[in-house]
Amino acid sequence: MKDISLRLAWRNLWRHGRRTWLTVGAMIFSNTLLVFSISLQFGSYEMMIDNSLQAYSGHLQLQHPRYLDEPKMRSALSDVAASAERLRAELGLTSISARAAGFVLASSDERSYGLQIFGVDAKHEPLVSTLPGLIEQGRYLAPGASAEIVIGSVLARNLKIEPGDELSFLGSGFDDSFAAGVVRVVGIFKSGIADLDRSMAQVNLGYFQDAFAMQQRGHSIVIRAPHIDAVEQLQTRVTTLLGDESKVALRHWDDLQPGLKQAIQADMTSAWFMYIVLIVLVAFSVLNTQLMSVLERTREFGTMMALGLKPSRLARLVILETGMMTGLGLLLGITLGALITWYVSQVGFSYPGMAEMAVKFNLPERMYPAISLISLTLGPGIVAFGSLLAAIYPALRLNRLLPIDAMRAV
């Protein structure tokens, strides 16, 4: 290094090697922990959202404006199949599907259960939901077929039926008339999501509309974006297309599953509280070390000032030293963190009790951290920032130093 100041700063750090390593050690510890933890968080949030949305609700839904708060049969959209087709054409997106929803009491030979019954567009439904692909026994609905039904695995077990059995149902239709019919179970799905497996069944939209006297109506048009990041843009496009249409509302998944975003927010908040505590503790460590380092060099600083160095120059030196130390902690911390996280991302991570919690949030039993540029640098970046902030006090003290006093110091 040509620059003497740089050499000086670096060597000053190693006057007390153990002290510097201990301070850097605190940074490495925190950084490693932060990289791992944040990667784990991001990985699981992503998965949680994807799994929850792709199972059933999709990213956006068009509904009757009152349907979200009051999901009644009467709050319906007219011409739902045609609208969905038009939307597919105008957006150039095939992952759009129409649905209708109702409630019936269904009876098998041995049992009766209430269940939610959905009329779906069997051709497009697989593009908005993973459910059609999760058929455990039998097959999914054939497009256009009448009187076919697929039901959830828990429901099937409770009703004691298998593919091929018949189910009769009874409910109320759009005009308050009786909706009744007999359908054949063609398939049983297992999503792993308790609510769906326990209470949901699907029939073809056309059959539903007939059985429930809906005519051409339905309750929602489900839109699935190619990727979660594309949702906002899609939302804007659809809103523009809708224009002033007041009989239809576009619902974001945030409204469809409010718990989801909030659960993530709550988790993030509590995690960040913990992270901040760690960062503060590291900053204290840096403050301690740098303050001691400055105080024990008082005489030396006095000499330097006698030579004509201004206090600001000395302060710069201290900040430079802190910066080098922080840089060391940053690099080593990110490296160690990345290594550990990468390893875990291959083998997965699990702790006792996690499996049960995972089920509640649509997560798999082992978690896999997701390494990204942000997850690698966010935590360590803030640690670095906090450490540099901590050096401000010792550096400021130098401003008040008078050469005479410094040189007289013991």
């Binding site: 000086l8 030396e300 000499t303 000032m305 006698a306 030579l307 004509g308 201004k310 050469p403």
Partner: protein, 227 residues
């Protein structure tokens, strides 16, 4: 360098309950190229006067003038600049930065002064050679004797051709031989480079080198003789 004029300098310190007089209405003029010794017992005021002239300490009252500049009225930043470019200091101890080599100690000041990197190395080596430390450029202070350390301090003090070198008890930690060598070096620099030297000391060996000897006591100048 213009002459330094000090007029009616006063400075007092408080230590606990006691009030100590550092300088008591001191008047003095130092011309360019002089080799002056300030002598006197501890507490006589010689260090205080030295610090005042060098801008390290401001007197309570009185004037210090170098040409047109009122040194006692300069702000800290300007004083620092003055010390950086025009005045060299050599102290009794703790002169050097322990983690830098002899050469780096000299180069460090030059870097702060703004000298370009290539020139620095060359000049630093040359000046170290001039003070008799050729071959020791890469040694750290801990690897140098007391006398050698002081010589590095001198090298650093003169490398930018200051007008004035102020030395405070420079030989206090040295044995006779080293003290002699150091004072010889001072004389040589004074003669060849026309650098003004003001040295505070109570070491008789040092005083014998002075061409002008100013004795102080209790903050007052009691004698001022050429010798």
């Amino acid at each position: 360098m213009s002459a330094i004029h000090c007029h009616q300098l006063c400075k007092t310190f408080t230590q606990g309950d006691a009030v100590i007089t550092g300088l008591d209405h001191v008047d003095i003029t130092i011309e360019e190229g002089e080799f002056v010794c300030l002598s006197g017992p501890s507490g006589s005021g010689k260090t205080t006067l030295l610090n005042a002239i060098g801008g390290l300490d401001t007197p309570d009252s009185g004037e210090i003038r170098m040409g047109d500049i009122r040194i006692d009225q300069l702000d800290r930043g300007s004083l620092a600049d003055m010390r950086l470019h025009h005045i060299g200091f050599v102290f009794q101890a703790y002169n050097l930065i322990p983690v830098l080599s002899a050469q780096e100690n000299v180069e460090f000041v030059m870097q702060v002064q703004g000298v370009a990197a290539e020139k620095r190395a060359h000049k630093a080596a040359a000046i170290l050679k001039e003070v008799g430390l050729e071959g020791m450029e890469d040694r750290r202070p801990a690897q140098l004797s007391g006398g050698q350390q002081q010589r590095v301090a001198v090298a650093r003090a003169i490398v930018s051709h200051p007008d004035l070198v102020l030395a405070d008890e420079p030989t206090a930690n040295l044995d006779s031989v080293a003290a002699d060598h150091l004072m010889g070096l001072f004389s040589e620099l004074n003669e060849h480079h026309r650098i003004t030297f003001v040295i505070a000391t109570h070491d008789k060996r040092v005083m014998s080198y002075a061409r002008r000897l100013i004795r102080m006591q209790d903050g007052k100048i009691i004698s001022d003789e050429a010798q």
